[in-house]
Amino acid sequence: MSLPSLAEVEHSDWPSLQRMCETLGLNPKGRSAIVRMRVADYVRHRAHAPSWRPAREHQAALLTRLGHPDLAERVWESTIQLEAPAPWVGLGHAQLAGGFLAEAAKSFARAAQMGDPSGELHRAEALAAGGDYRGAAVACEAYLATHARDLRALLMKSTFLARSGFEEEATKVLHAAAELHPEVALLQRTLGLALLRSGHHAAAADALQQAVHQDPKDVDADVGRGAALLLAGRTREAIGVLREALEIDSKRADALNNLGVAYLAMGRTKSASVNLERAAKHRESPRILLNLGRVMEGANEPAEAVRAYDQVLKLRPKDPEAVAGRKRLGVPTKSRRSPQKRTAKSPKKAARTVPRKTAPSVEASSS
C-alpha cells in the first residue's frame, strides 16, 4: 500500500480525504481539518524516513562550499557543543571563506585545544592566508609534534618556511620528508628543484638523479638535473642528461635552451645556435631569445643576433640586455621598428660571446 504524499493530504478535497482514510484504515469521521491532520500524522509517522537527510553540520558545510560563508557561520555556531571540535573546524572554514582570517585562526585553535590536532594545520592555512607565514610554519610544527610523519604537514611547513624567507630550513624539511617517505617519487623531484633554486647545484643534481631513478620517465626531473649539472660546472654530464630528456620530449623549450647554453660553454657555437633556435620556436621567451642573440653574436651573424634582440624588445620593450646587444652591433635604436631591413655586417669582428652571460632557464625547468 503506497502512502499519499503530505502535499496530497494538504490539498485533497473532502471525498479524497475520506478515501485516504478508508485505504489507510483510519477513522474518517469528524471535522475536515481534524481528519486531514489525522491522515497527515499517519503519513508523517509511517512514511519511510529518507536514507540520508542533511544534518545541520552538512548544511553548514554545503553553505560554505556554495559561497554563503555568512550563513554557514551561523549554522556552524548553532552546532557547537561541549567536546566536539569538528564544528569549530567548520566554523573556521566558514570564517576563512568570509575573509575573517583572525577569527578563523581562533576557531581552529579552539578545535586544536579541544583535542583535534588537525586544527593546527587548518590554523596554519588561515595564518598563511593572512600572510603570517612564520606563524603558519609554527602551527605546522605544533601539528608535527604529534604527527611527525605526516606528509601534508611537512610539505606545508616547507612551503611556509620558504615563503617566509627561510629557504635553507624549508629544504631541510623537504629532505626530512623525502627520507621519511622514500616511496613518494615526487618528493625527490621537489627537493631537487628546491635545492636548485637555493643554489645547491650539486645536491640538487643528486636529488634529481634519485627522482629519475625512481621514475625514469620523469622528464621534469631530468631537465632539472641537466640544469643543476650545468650550473654545477659539470657541462659534459649536463649535455648527456639534457639529450636524454629531449629524447623523451623533444619539444621541451627549457631543455633545448639549457642544452644550447651547455654547448656554448663547450665552445660548440653551431650546436648551441641550433638548439636555441629550436627552443625559441617552441617558446618565445626573452631569456631564450637573449641567449640566441648572444650565440649569434659569437657566431658572427649579427643580422640573426639583431633579429633575436628585436624579438626580445617586442616582448619586453627597453630590455637592457637586448638594448645593449643592439648597441654592441651598432644598430640605431629606431631601426628596431623595421626588423625586415637587414643591417650591414660590422667590419669589426664581434667579441666572442661570454658563456657566463647566457643563462640556463632554471625557472623553466622548475615550473
Binding site: G30, R31, A40, G115
Partner: protein, 305 residues
C-alpha cells in the same frame, strides 16, 4: 601530587600531560563517571590553575551532579580567565536559571551577546529568562531577533506565542503557535501553549483536542488537569474523571485535580455524554463537510463556543 622529574626540571607542567589529563576527564564525563571526571579535572587545574577549559569542564561536571553553586563558581572562574567563551557564558546562565536567578541569567546573556551578537542560543535563552521575569515585550524582542536570523526556528515561534498570550494578544499568539506547529508538527511545547491558549479562550473542544495530542508526546499532571476541566465543560463526566485521575496519579498532592475529580463525579450523577469516534467534539464549524455529516452534530453545536 608530585610532578614528574622532567616537569619539575622545567618549572612548567608538561603540556602533554595536561592534555592527556583533560582528555581523560572529558572521557570520564562522557561516560557519566562524574567522580572520575572531577578527579582528572582537579589534576588539570593543579597543573595549570589558569586553564579556562578545565574550569568549564568543572562547571559542567558540577551542574550534571546537581551542585549548582559549585557550577556557578566554576563557570565564573573560567570566565575570569577567558571572558570571551560562549560555552562559559551559556554554562553560567543555565546554572543561574536552575537556581531561579533570572536577573543575573539575563545579564550573562547580555555579556555573551556583546561578544557573539548572533548567538541564537543566547537570544532564545535570554527571551526565556525575560519571560520568567515577566518582561514579555523584552522576551518578544529577543524571539524576533532569532526569527530575523532563523525564520524556521519553531521554538522561537512557540515562545513568542507564549509571550503574546501573556500580553493578552490571543490572535497573535494563535498565529505564532500555528507557525511553530507548521514547522514542527510534533513540537510538544507549541501544543502545550496551544492548550493554554484555548483554555484561556474558553474553547473546551479545542482544549481537549490539543491536550490529547500533547499527551501523546509527554505526560504532565497539569495537562491532564486542563483536559479534565475541558471535558467537564463538554459535559463528558467519565472522560473528565479519567483525566483527573491521571493527573492525581502523576501528582497525588494536586488539590485542583482532586476538586475537579469531585466535580466530575457529581456531574456523572446527572449527565455523561459519550463522543464516540468524534475526537473533534466541541469544535463545530458550520459549513464544514465533516461537520455536515456528523452524527452528534446537534450536541456538538450546544457545547461549541
Amino acid at each position: 601530587m608530585t610532578l614528574p622529574p622532567e616537569t619539575t626540571g622545567r618549572f612548567l607542567p608538561s603540556v602533554d600531560r595536561l592534555e592527556n589529563t583533560m582528555r581523560a576527564a572529558r572521557r570520564a564525563f562522557d561516560h557519566g563517571d562524574l567522580e572520575g571526571a572531577l578527579r582528572e579535572d582537579d589534576v588539570a587545574i593543579q597543573l595549570k590553575p589558569e586553564y579556562d577549559a578545565a574550569w568549564l569542564l568543572r562547571g559542567h561536571i558540577f551542574r550534571k551532579d546537581g551542585n549548582i553553586p559549585g557550577a556557578i563558581e566554576a563557570f565564573a572562574q573560567a570566565l575570569k580567565i577567558n571572558g570571551e567563551t560562549q560555552e562559559g557564558w551559556l554554562g553560567l546562565a543555565s546554572a543561574l536559571h536552575e537556581v531561579g536567578r533570572f536577573q543575573e541569567e539575563g545579564e550573562a546573556y547580555d555579556r555573551l551577546l556583546k561578544i557573539h551578537p548572533r548567538s541564537i542560543e543566547a537570544w532564545i535563552d535570554k527571551g526565556a529568562a525575560l519571560h520568567e521575569l515577566g518582561d514579555y515585550r523584552g522576551a518578544i524582542a529577543c524571539y524576533d531577533k532569532v526569527l530575523g536570523m532563523r525564520p524556521e526556528h519553531a521554538a522561537a515561534w512557540s515562545n513568542k506565542g507564549a509571550a503574546l498570550l501573556r500580553l493578552g494578544d490571543d490572535a497573535g499568539a494563535a498565529r505564532c503557535m500555528d507557525e511553530a506547529l507548521h514547522l514542527d508538527p510534533d513540537f510538544y511545547d507549541a501544543m502545550a501553549n496551544r492548550v493554554l491558549l484555548y483554555r484561556k479562550m474558553k474553547r473546551p473542544g479545542e482544549t481537549v483536542l490539543w491536550a490529547d495530542r500533547a499527551l501523546r508526546f509527554r505526560e504532565a499532571p497539569w495537562l491532564w488537569y486542563v483536559k479534565g476541566a475541558a471535558h467537564l465543560g463538554l459535559r463528558e463526566s467519565t472522560l473528565a474523571m479519567k483525566a483527573f485521575e491521571h493527573a492525581l496519579a502523576l501528582d497525588p498532592k494536586s488539590k485542583e485535580a482532586r476538586a475537579g475529580l469531585r466535580k466530575a463525579k457529581t456531574l456523572h450523577e446527572t449527565t455523561d455524554f459519550y463522543r464516540g469516534v468524534y475526537e473533534c467534539f466541541g469544535t463545530l464549524l458550520v459549513g464544514d463537510p465533516g461537520c455536515e455529516e456528523c452524527e452528534i452534530r446537534a450536541r456538538c453545536r450546544e457545547v461549541t463556543t
